[in-house]
Point group: C2
Chain length 474, copies 2
């Protein structure tokens, strides 16, 4: 068997491939209109050709929380809405699709005219959510809504994944500032930039990434790397030079020997006298609790009680909690890799599923992949959540709000600071066991409303009747 | 304590934040010149101000292989070089940096003039590499080279991470095509697009992502989702409609009941007679080995021996190997999440370290963070690798090649197909235990040349002498 048996399309020109990749102009500037799986275009074309233009509801939700997690923090819907509003199929994108030889001109012309025309309902960014609860519901003609599957899952999935991880790190730091410097190990440019935004929303104080600072208005932070120390013959020379340019800096003391590095900071303080304004030292390797205690002792003994201790190096929520539980005198944390890739759970079990078409509830019956039919609402009370049909009026706060109507935003994008405040308030309002790092027992209660359960039963019965196994063949 | 103690810069305007984020024009189009950690700018400024303009060598390498891995597949250097060649500080970027209030105009003027002027040496994409071996060495005035730290680690780290994972998945599939459809769960847009390229380089046949197909000239593949089946009252109607539009398609049979779905494909074959050209069915849930056997039996019994079986759903290299070991009659695999986020190892322990400045070798002495001084070369023979100083002439193939000189590419970017071929040949040339999924015992031998070991000893002695602990204070 070879690849072509599987409908794998070669480059459109059918040459040996030497002409590829195309130049930077072959696809329009950001090209996100093509950020979709090929099957979405195939299905959209079939719907178009069949005249299936009725309204569909697609629901974006997480099937199960990652192991050991108590909640997720919704994030990413605002970027998704911005992208939806701007989505256009330009000539380059259409030319590429044409080159695949899979779509007739009529469908390409439809794409060329396509503007998202539907509605989006979303949980506000910074809201804790649980398994099975819709983060977003898209209501649009089925072909339009289908084309958004990959984009919605990727954007909202990534930011929710990272914000959820960061909420744990921030909780573990127990009020001490957390600065993120994970861009270097993040899974790509977008993960670093969207991640910095998600982290800040979840309570992280600042990012190291300058572009993230510029794009999202997030505070940026950073001082020196080991390389700066190494570029000088003596560590003391590097400290002196850096403090000259940045008097209120933080000096990285572990390039050669941590205790010796701390003593050199003390020497610098003696040398500079009143001009010494170094704010802190950073420990980046070794036994951070022991080194922090030793460093604190050296600094305090020299009268440098105002010099703070910043710790970094392989930290996550559990290591931060352990350091603080051990009484390590650490004033702030730098967190990188583990938060930036959500190391314990690098993906969410997120899904974007058809739940209604042409006014009828739809669902899968596949093993372990339950979907709840229809347009829904989540009602939150002090004692738990209820997932209900959208038309129901139940006690509690309805979490899903309409954010797009007729393809346009129903309200302006909220500032990041507002979403950050929302996150802080809503996380603080969770029951205490939910905010702990350990799994909460019992987990947060999420019920299905009687009306939704009845609808689920009816849809299941209808689907089962319509899809009875054919008589055995053969 | 509050965040401002840690030199966290607020938005430049010092307003409440309501004016942020800036509009899309506030930073230049891709803005990757700002994709750096703030400390890189601070250090670059200090070097600039101190007149430290001599040549530095920075080495990009992975300290340890992820647990259970036998090799990494180098990937990402070509994108890094393209970005380096194009890097410019435009007015928007400079305005943002100016607004931080941390840098004098003189430094900003230097940035405005900055064009990368250095050399890059890289292992060709698709080459297996091991712990401690440089993937890239950058040789440039220290401030220039320092500014590239985050970009180099992120770009080369991500693509190497994902190519390395994909090489295992491809090996497990033992010649059967692997199609990737992980964009939905990839960590962001860039991870999905760069990932599709890395996967294809590592031997994956096709991607589901249309934009990746357009950008990188990768074959694209995909047929239908459950939603298509759900949009029809009866599964049989969905199959008939889809096969009408795409006669040689693959039908997804597990929306309601897998065996019933397969029987409906048989019914469709009877209905269509000679017009039935469906190439395969896809199983996406449940016990794939058992379902594949059952489906094969139903199809073969109906004379549909030409209809192939495509399996997907939570697959990784171990699950694929187990399915094939169990004799599951599966003809091709669709792999998503686990490959797209490198689920077992979502980050590499990658580092970008100063190894020489002003002609002198440099290194860290921090615990567990060994760096090898100087410009280096890796020589590969049939029996193992030797990491050596760049000037040495040892037996074997030198893996690092100069890809940029004087800030320009030393040779054109190779087509992806060439790098893919390189990967296939070089992986095939590895000893068989290295190509297995299980950890090879012993691991691949990587030696340090006597000259490099001697240099390391001398640098260590020099650094230790120059950085003797200061006399105890107090």
């Amino acid at each position: 068997m070879n690849a072509s048996r599987w409908r794998i399309s070669p480059p459109p020109c059918r040459c040996s491939g030497a002409c590829w990749p195309p130049g930077p102009d072959a696809v329009s500037a950001d090209g996100l209109e093509l950020f979709a799986d090929l099957y979405e275009f195939r299905m959209a074309h079939a719907y178009h050709a069949l005249g299936m233009e009725e309204e569909a509801v697609f629901s974006l939700f997480v099937r199960r929380l990652p192991a050991g997690r108590n909640f997720l923090l919704a994030c990413g819907a605002e970027d998704f809405c911005d992208t939806l509003e701007a989505l256009r199929f330009g000539g380059d994108s259409l030319a590429y699709l044409r080159g695949l030889g899979a779509f007739p001109e009529e469908f390409l012309a439809w794409l060329a005219r396509l503007r998202f025309s539907g509605a989006v309902h979303a949980v506000p960014e910074g809201t804790p959510v649980f398994a099975g609860e819709p983060l977003i519901e898209v209501v649009a003609p089925i072909a339009e809504a289908q084309l958004l599957e990959t984009l919605a899952m990727n954007m909202v999935g990534l930011q929710t994944l990272l914000a959820s991880k960061a909420a744990r790190v921030v909780a573990a730091a127990a009020g001490r500032p957390v600065v993120e410097f994970g861009s270097r190990r993040a899974q790509g440019i977008d993960a670093a930039l969207a991640g910095a935004r998600a982290f800040h929303l979840a309570g992280v104080a600042a990012t190291s990434n300058v572009l993230a600072g510029a794009r999202h208005g997030i505070p940026v932070a950073g001082t020196m790397a080991h390389s700066f120390v190494q570029a000088f013959a003596r560590e003391a020379d590097a400290f002196r030079a850096f403090a000259h340019h940045y008097p209120e800096t933080i000096l990285l003391v572990d390039t050669y020997d941590t205790a010796a590095g701390v003593r050199r900071v003390v020497e610098l303080a003696r040398e500079l006298g009143a001009a010494f304004r170094v704010r802190g030292i950073r420990l980046d390797s070794g036994d951070l609790a022991a080194l922090a205690r030793q460093a604190r002792g050296i600094l305090d003994h020299a009268g440098l009680t105002q010099v703070q201790i910043f710790a970094s190096g392989g930290l996550d929520e559990h290591r931060i909690a352990a350091l603080l539980a051990a009484g390590a005198p650490i004033d702030a944390f730098g967190v990188g890799t583990e938060m930036s890739v959500s190391g314990d759970a690098p993906a969410l079990d997120i899904a974007y599923k058809l739940t209604a078409y042409a006014g009828q509830g739809r669902m899968k019956l596949s093993e372990g992949k339950r979907t709840l039919p229809g347009r829904k609402q989540v009602f939150r009370t002090a004692t738990g959540d209820t997932v209900a049909l959208a038309g129901e009026d139940l006690p509690g706060e309805p979490l899903l709000r309409q954010v797009m109507a007729g393809g346009r935003r129903a309200a302006p994008r909220p500032p990041l600071a507002t979403s950050r405040q929302n996150a802080a308030e809503r996380i603080a309002a969770l029951p205490a066991p939910l905010r702990a790092l350990a799994p909460a027992t019992p987990p947060y209660p999420v019920a299905i409303s009687p009306a939704l359960a009845a609808e689920e039963g009816q849809v299941r019965a209808r689907l089962s009747a319509a899809n009875l196994p054919p008589r055995p063949v053969g």
